[in-house]
């Protein structure tokens, strides 16, 4: 049983890393947002895996992941809205052209 936990965790880790890679390297803001979703899903997977195969199995983890999905949906909505606003102002969605933090 515990071998199942390890493979879930490995999968989650791989997903997280892919997401992280996307966040750090992709120029398009849309893909960055998608990569963030990927990372969130990796976390959800972790929660579910522990709720099933953890030391004290319970439903709490699955409930948490449902919350996460809902919040992620809201977050994406906000993110896309900001992105559209940015696009209207700057006519681009390339992340590397947004360096307002510098000034």
């Amino acid at each position: 049983m515990s071998s199942m936990l390890a493979s879930y965790l490995t999968l989650a880790a791989i997903l997280f890393c892919i997401g992280l890679y996307g966040v750090l390297t992709k120029r398009s803001a849309v893909i960055v947002l998608l990569s963030i979703e990927l990372m969130l899903n990796a976390v959800n997977l972790n929660l579910i895996a522990f709720s099933k195969y953890g030391v004290v199995p319970s439903l709490k983890g699955q409930v948490f992941s449902l919350f996460n999905i809902a919040i992620a949906a809201a977050e994406v909505a906000v993110g896309i809205a900001i992105l559209i606003a940015l696009y209207r102002n700057r006519a681009t969605t390339n992340v590397d052209e947004f360096n307002e933090l510098r000034n």
Binding site: L20, V23, L24, T25, V32, V95, D96, F98, N99, E100, L101, R102, N103
Partner: protein, 633 residues
């Protein structure tokens, strides 16, 4: 007899000090009456010191001292106070009389000057310092006032500071005298170290250095006494413009002429002579020191007299004459003839102040100091011409004027102890008579042979406020000598406190009279109304004349051996400072800046690079934990 006025000696310097304070603090209020305050305060001081002198002449000769504790730490006590001896009672009178007359004279001379108030304030400060110096009961207090008169001299030489020459002269005077002051300071420190109870007052010094026995009793070796005396004399050399530190005094003539009369002829420059006379006990115990004093004095007397022959600036001639006469005084002191030295100081103060004020009167009228430009135009100034003539005769040593008696006293002292120095003194006396007659004949009697353009405006006599001091000083220059003639030596007894015999020396009297008259005769022959032209004889001995005219190139030598090396050293240090010290500072700063720039490149505003950086940081932390072996769980 109870001393009445002696108790009020402290008031003598206070009067000019008050004048200084009033003139400085209420400059705007008292603007119109600055001269009045100056004259008034010095007149008060003058009357008081004359009363003190009269009292001392008639009454007891014991020393009147008052001391107040100033500083005290452990066993060391420093005291301030005042002391009245016959010597400094005489000095008080000299200083205050000359100061009063100069103040009065300056009222006319400086009438058009905008900074008149400042001028009279400085004179007040100077008079205060000089009087304070004179009545100081100990060396430390004397040193304080010694520096104060130096400051006043600096301020007044540079009074017309808009003239670069005046600024340079002021700085030169300050620095040159400072060299001597260091010597005096070291002497004071040595005395402080070796004297019992660290006493610095003149009475203790007199007791310790009373004789060789008492000196060795207090553990002071003869060599040490020589050192102390020589270092004190170094201070006197600086202040009294003796060779080799004399160069500042002629340059100091850039100051207003009343100042030249007061500070650089009558009083401050005589402070060196006074200092040596005051600490004479120390000198007396060292043959070497006495010889140094006598030879420096003798050499300066003849050295400066030769320079004075070829100068063209009226005041400079008088300045070199002052240097020469101060050399005479030192010569007398070095020969042990304190009374003769002080007596010459006394007479010299009057006739040299007279000469300077007379020169100022002429300069005021013709607006030039070059005697060849004045060229006989002083003729129309009758009072100035006559009083100047009296001063010149007194300085030349023509009997029975004051200068004759004092010079005679010095020469007869030299005759008795050192024939070489006597010869030097005689030659210097001849030169003195010669350059004074040259100056007088060119300025006052010469026929108008050369017309310089724009000088035809008639020359008027100076106002009464300037001529009255001249007349008073002329009278003093005539009569002051009768205080101490070869036939009457009460003055010596009074000054030294030791009964003295008359010092009549017929040979010396005859020699000095002949020398003075022949000097004047030669001057008349060359520069008189029908005299030969100067270039006749100056061409004959051209290299020598040139050497003398350029003051033996002493200034140039100093420039070469002191000023330039110091400037080079300054340059080297400047480069060191600029490139090494500053370089280190700048390098540190630029390192910091570069280091900071490194991190500004990280802060590029790119969100992704921030993310990456935090990932690196997180990974590094994890790695650290693993390496430390703590484990992740």
């Amino acid at each position: 007899m109870e001393s009445v006025y002696a108790q009020y000696v402290w008031a003598v310097p206070i009067a000019p000090l008050l004048a200084f304070l009033v003139l400085t603090l209420m400059r705007c209020v008292v603007k119109g009456s600055a001269a009045f305050i100056g004259v008034g305060s010095s007149l008060i001081a003058c009357v008081l010191s004359i009363l003190i002198l009269l009292e001392r002449l008639s009454a007891s000769t014991n020393v009147y001292t008052v001391n107040v504790e100033w500083l005290s730490f452990g066993a060391v006590h420093f005291e301030l106070g005042y002391e009245l001896t016959n010597l400094n009672a005489l000095m008080l009178v000299i200083v205050t009389v000359v100061s009063t007359l100069v103040n009065l004279y300056a009222k006319g001379y400086m009438a058009d000057d905008e900074r008149q108030t400042v001028f009279f304030a400085y004179i007040g400060l100077f008079t205060f310092s000089m009087l304070g110096l004179v009545i100081s009961p100990n060396l430390l207090q004397l040193y304080i006032f010694w520096e104060l008169v130096g400051v006043c001299s600096f301020l007044l030489i540079g009074f017309w500071y808009e003239r670069p020459a005046a600024r340079a002269a002021a700085k030169k005077a300050f620095i040159m005298t400072r060299i001597g002051d260091v010597g005096l300071l070291i002497a004071i420190l040595i005395l402080f170290w070796h004297m019992p109870n660290h006493a610095l007052d003149f009475q203790s010094i007199g007791q310790v250095f009373a004789s060789v026995d008492t000196m060795s009793q207090y553990g002071i070796s003869a060599g040490l006494a020589t050192w102390i005396a020589s270092l004190i004399f170094l201070g006197a050399i600086g202040k009294s413009g003796q060779f080799p530190l004399h160069t500042w005094l002629p340059d100091a003539m850039e100051g207003p002429t009343p100042i030249s009369a007061l500070i650089h002829a009558a009083t401050m420059v005589a402070a060196g002579v006074y200092l040596v006379a005051r600490t004479f006990d120390i000198f007396q115990l060292s043959q070497t020191a006495m010889l140094i004093v006598a030879s420096v004095g003798g050499f300066t007397a003849i050295f400066a007299a030769t320079i004075a022959i070829a100068q063209r600036d009226m005041k400079r001639i008088l300045a070199y004459s002052t240097v020469s006469q101060l050399g005479y005084m030192m010569l007398a002191l070095g020969l042990g003839a304190v009374t003769a030295g002080i007596f010459h100081l006394f007479t010299h103060a009057f006739f040299k102040a007279l000469l300077f004020l007379g020169a100022g009167s002429v300069i005021h009228a013709v607006h030039t100091q070059n005697i060849f430009q004045i060229n006989g135009r002083g003729r129309s100034m009758k009072i100035t011409a006559w009083t100047f003539a009296i001063g010149a005769l007194a300085l030349s040593g023509v009997p029975p004027l004051s200068g004759f008696w004092s010079k005679d006293a010095i020469l007869s002292a030299a005759w008795e102890s050192n024939k070489l120095l006597f010869a030097i003194g005689v030659v210097a006396a001849f030169l003195t008579a010669f350059y004074m007659s040259r100056l007088f004949f060119i300025v006052f009697t010469r026929a108008k042979r050369v017309h310089t353009e724009g000088t035809d405006s008639p020359i008027h006599e100076s106002p009464a406020v300037m001529t009255i001091p001249l007349v008073v000083l002329a009278v003093l220059a005539v009569v002051a000598g009768f205080v101490y003639t070869p036939f009457y030596s009460g003055f010596e007894t009074w000054i030294t406190g030791v009964a003295a015999s008359d010092h009549t020396n017929v040979i010396v009297i005859i020699v000095s009279t002949i020398v003075a008259l022949s000097g004047i005769g030669l001057g008349y022959f060359i520069y008189g109304p029908n005299g030969v032209r100067e270039d006749r004889w100056s061409n004959v001995i051209k290299p020598l004349y040139h050497l003398v005219e350029r003051k033996y190139y002493v200034d140039e030598l100093y420039k070469l051996f002191a000023v330039y090396p110091l400037k080079v050293l300054g340059k080297v240090l400047d480069v060191f400072d600029r490139y090494i010290i500053d370089g280190i500072v700048r390098y540190t700063a630029s390192c910091t800046v570069q280091f900071g720039k490194l991190f500004t490149r990280i802060q590029n505003g790119q969100l992704q690079s921030y993310g990456l950086l935090s990932l690196y940081g997180f990974s590094a932390l994890l790695l650290l934990l693993l390496l430390l072996g703590k484990g992740l769980w």
